[in-house]
Symmetry: C2
Subunit: 227 residues, 2 copies
DNA sequence: TGAGAGAATTTTGAATTCATAATACCTTTC
DNA sequence: GAAAGGTATTATGAATTCAAAATTCTCTCA
């Protein structure tokens, strides 16, 4: 049950721009021309500029006063930082979920887990990922912490456009599944500390970070300090 | 070394409104009149409305399309959710700091810790709190994760206006100091897991959440689900 | 007296306009 | 031919204007 958002132009525009960025139609670092976007969307500059301000505080766009807006560059470090953060948030979601989830909720997640195992054994990677994601979303929802959900979604949005090649080697995959076995065990026992720990360390995040290395080629060195 | 922000009107206005909210001059739930604020600030509606959009996506303000803006109400649950989140973030900051901080950095934090102990023994509560906060800020800085810092600052800003009465009982205080002893020990050993754990469980957060109960009297029940 | 319909007023959403800063272009000079 | 300086053009920041939605007020009628 999600609250309906009355539509206003600037929200519509913000959604559209988010999409453009996510799908790479506005490339990272690319200058955003107000005039051109206004014409594309058929709106005046006022709602467009409002949308840009929102996107800037969401971290998707960079506003250089008097010098226009550009799509925020993702550096390797930023993405790694973001994944570290998401790991911590997943850990928290696990701890909270353990304390709040109903027995039915646990059963539902176990069911998802079983389905995931099937996909694993059948080597159906896309389906595996999909169910895997639903498990994590379920935990997030079960944690019943709106602020956590909001933050997580924001972070997730920021790195969505990184289309890293998930180099799912056999051994990585096996370990990921093992992690999930541990998660389920902890969840069933409602061992929140344990579940939190497993989720924080969950291979998934680390793997993804590793894969990114080959995708984002920023000028900075990999170990550079913050800008 | 922090980057200078070119001033624009909407940023100035956003800063001012943040202040007003933080200090309660704009009360929670209060309707924000565009006209009045414009006159107070001496600006037109355009930059004001841009500022409101930014504040809305920072979670300080609520925008009801066609019906104006109001200062976001803080419910007990929202504040508790926020503190849970901040605890998780502090935990992460500890883990990361352990791995990255220099020996000098550790020494600096130890020095702060010693100062804090002095204030503890002298029963100087305000000074204690101040040094205590600097320790946590130092860890956050040492974690060298800009995204983490950004999120933490945002969350912190949201709950800043809650002026709960810190009922620092003797036993609470003693335990908080014990927590800090453990933190320092873990930091010196660069035991990131341990430091993370201590920070996540650090009494500080839980205590504050407890204190809030008496301050925020929302219509909702304490255990209510999300709105 | 009070409820409800409808007009007047206010407030918001969005387009337009105006001023200024940044950029591009062209000329001049060495 | 390249660099420097100055002008023209463009893009941005912010005020103003216009349109539509919401709110308030008033008047009627039960």
């Amino acid at each position: 049950m999600t609250k309906i958002q009355p539509r206003t132009l600037y929200r519509e525009v913000a959604d559209r721009i988010r999409d453009l960025i996510e799908h790479g139609e506005l490339a990272p670092g690319e200058r955003i021309s107000e005039k051109q976007l206004c014409e594309n969307f058929g709106v005046s500059r006022t709602p467009l500029r409002e949308a840009l301000k929102v996107l800037a505080s969401e971290g998707l766009v960079e506003l250089l006063p008097n010098r226009g807006a550009r799509v925020k560059q993702l550096t390797y470090k930023m993405v790694k930082d973001t994944y570290d953060l998401m790991g911590a948030l997943e850990g928290l979601s696990g701890e909270l979920a353990c304390q709040q989830i109903s027995d039915e909720g646990i059963a539902a997640i176990c069911a998802l887990h079983e389905r995931m195992l099937v996909h694993y054994h059948n080597r159906e990677l896309p389906e595996y990922f999909q169910v895997n994601q639903r498990i994590h979303e379920s935990l997030l929802a079960a944690s019943n912490n709106d602020v956590l959900l909001e933050m997580y979604n924001n972070l997730s949005q920021r790195v969505k456009r990184v289309r890293y090649s998930k180099k799912m080697t056999e051994s990585y995959w096996r370990r990921a599944v093992q992690d999930h076995e541990e998660m389920i065990a902890a969840l069933k026992k409602r061992d929140s500390k344990r579940l939190g720990q497993v989720l924080r360390d969950h291979l998934c995040n680390k793997l993804e970070v590793a894969s990114i290395a080959g995708v984002i080629d920023d000028g900075e060195t990999r170990n550079a300090a913050n800008s």
